[in-house]
Amino acid sequence: MSTRKSRTLKVDYLARVEGEGALFIRLKDDNVTEVQLRIFEPPRFFEGFLRGRRWTEAPDITARICGICPIAYLASSISAMESIVGAEVPHPIRELRRLIYCGEWIESHILHLAMLHAPDFLGYQDALAMAKDHPDIVKGALRLKKIGNDIMVLLGGREIHPINLRVGGFYSVPTKDELQKLRPDLEWGLEASQQVARWAATLDYPDFERDYEFVALRHPKEYPLWEGRLVSNKGLDIPLSEFYDHVVEEHVARSTSLHSSMRQRGTYHVGPLARYALNYEHLTPGCQALARECGLGPTCNNPFKSLLVRAIETVYAYEEALRIVNTYEMPDRPYVPLEPRAGRGYGCSEAPRGICYHTYAIDDQGVILDARIAPPTAQNQRCMEEDLAALVPQFAHLKDDDLTWRCEQAVRNYDPCISCSCHFLKLEVQREYSH
């Protein structure tokens, strides 16, 4: 005779992620029967109200989709608009664009890896509790993060929703001397971020790997930030204009965010692990050597180790920022003046949490007729669910509280910004036992 026991476990919000959502897991005899990520983020309808706005307004408006990766939205929308008119920006502008994106990577990566994700590995509720036992780590991280923000402030005017980027370039650009002021901090940061990577390598990572299809930008010469083709480790190689020929967005009942997958290919994974695997050769020799020292090969399939890859990317961002600061020459004018023309454009950039894709159609007056945006967290949602389905049986022996925590940690592997996925968190584990 068998009796059934079922248990439900609830946590009000999945914390330390940006935004609101919930996780629902049903277990029967330690087998996962259902995993759902539910997104409660109230819909904000950006793609609706962008219609009728000017093409030059899209950057400042779409930046408000996400306060932690505004540069990603600014960059992707600016690139999309510039592609409509076939604009080329001069080298120094391109360099400043890379520099401000480095600022966002540094700020976002350090915030996430040291203050939001590391506490999971060390068993703290948050960075403030962690700061009591590891004051040097937290204080060092705060300074590293601040330098990222300083780049954003210098080039963008402020750290959240910078005001100085526009279609065609910048409203104003710094002089060589102004940029040079960043140098001592960047030199300190390069050194300090290498220490953070070495420290990150000492954390205890769960033994867990999956065979992902990684999707990221690839550029012939450099580690991708603002541009490139979309490629995967399983044969995808397309120009930006073909994104929606391959990606389908599905609207499921549990979510105000659209779930992405690829036709014939299924679930894919965007973010640091994908970028790293697909662009390893474009990391500097110093970063590659450090990655090896930290125990990473040229590909990493353990999503928990995204923390470590973020640390390597932070070092890269510091190196790249220094390179730019050291070689910058002020451009003749801060932007290229552009006139609208009717057409459709595509833009994609590497947000800290993965590719952020935009496409717009405008008329000959520059009025937006249609807008479509695929934020990184929405693209990763299915991947997160599949990770959890694979992970839970491995940790099903844990007490509910510990299992819950483990699941949260696994979601945080993706540094999800739920606002972004338009966009989490309540955790519910339902256990049924037959005896």
């Binding site: 914390a15 109230p42 309808f45 300074r143 005001i163 599905e250």
Partner: protein, 260 residues
């Protein structure tokens, strides 16, 4: 501080981009000090730990856009001694209030394949339209130093010392040449509340009004200025309809030109 109970701080989120609450984590130099003086009791974006209410101070980010949220804000008000709204979303409805000027059902159809899954209110509304708000902090995003000033003032039982004059005054103070006069660039500065330090003009662009209307703004005079420098009606409407589109003075002015 032993024996003295630290005030309990909660941070709540409604429809928003998280940028305003992130401002708190962006106070790199002040964060650890702030944490010495207040007890961060509920802040899901930063900590798993949750303490039950009531709370001494609630910071509320985001606007009300769903029936569920309209109920939730009332519960939060009942649990909070002081309720402070942070940012344009919470004080005026934010950029998502652009739906208030359109047919939201059409928007749902543009964005979602299954409109029946989406539960949303007709309008995106500020927190003060639902509950009593003790203090409103402006900006899209808020200025983090203003945020610290507000917390400081509350901890010391005084009124926050924040300007209510226009961005123009900040330009004059920092000696920035007027972009409207000198370059003919449309600027919202004359009707927008100070607080950003006249950021945009200092980068040679016009203010886009992210701090919302100042006290008694002369929006009609500004529209006349903009018209004089060649701004067309549609762009006047767009100018007032940005991050504070649903703030009364901006909303009314945009409607004047929409129907003109």
């Amino acid at each position: 501080m032993r024996g003295v109970k630290k005030p309990k701080l909660a941070v709540w989120k409604f429809a928003s981009c998280d940028g305003c609450q992130l401002s708190l984590l962006d106070c790199e130099d002040e964060l650890l000090t702030v944490a010495e003086h207040v007890d961060i009791a509920y802040f899901p974006e930063a900590t798993r730990a949750v303490q039950k209410g009531p709370y001494d101070v609630s910071l509320v980010e985001g606007s009300i856009t769903t029936p569920h949220d309209a109920e939730r804000i009332n519960k939060i008000r009942r649990m909070s001694r002081y309720l402070i709204t942070i940012g344009a979303c919470a004080t005026s409805g934010g950029i998502q209030a652009l739906r208030n000027f359109a047919d939201v059902n059409q928007y749902i159809r543009i964005v979602y394949a299954h409109p029946e899954y989406i539960e949303t209110l007709r309008n995106s509304t500020p927190i003060a339209m639902h509950v009593y708000v003790d203090f409103e902090l402006r900006g899209c995003p808020v200025n983090k130093y203003q945020l610290i000033e507000v917390l400081n003032a509350l901890l010391n039982n005084r009124r926050p010392n924040l300007p209510t004059y226009s961005v123009c005054i900040e330009c004059k103070r920092r000696g920035t040449a007027c972009v409207m006069v000198s370059e003919g660039v449309p600027c919202m500065g004359p009707v927008t509340q100070a607080g950003c330090g006249a950021l945009c003009p200092s980068y040679r662009r016009g203010c886009y009004g992210c701090f919302g209307p100042m006290e008694v703004p002369n929006t009609a005079a500004l529209s006349a200025c903009w018209s004089n420098i060649g701004v067309q009606k549609d762009d006047l409407v767009r100018g007032f309809r940005m991050f504070n589109a649903y703030a009364d003075p901006f909303r009314k002015e945009s409607e004047v030109h929409e129907h003109a």
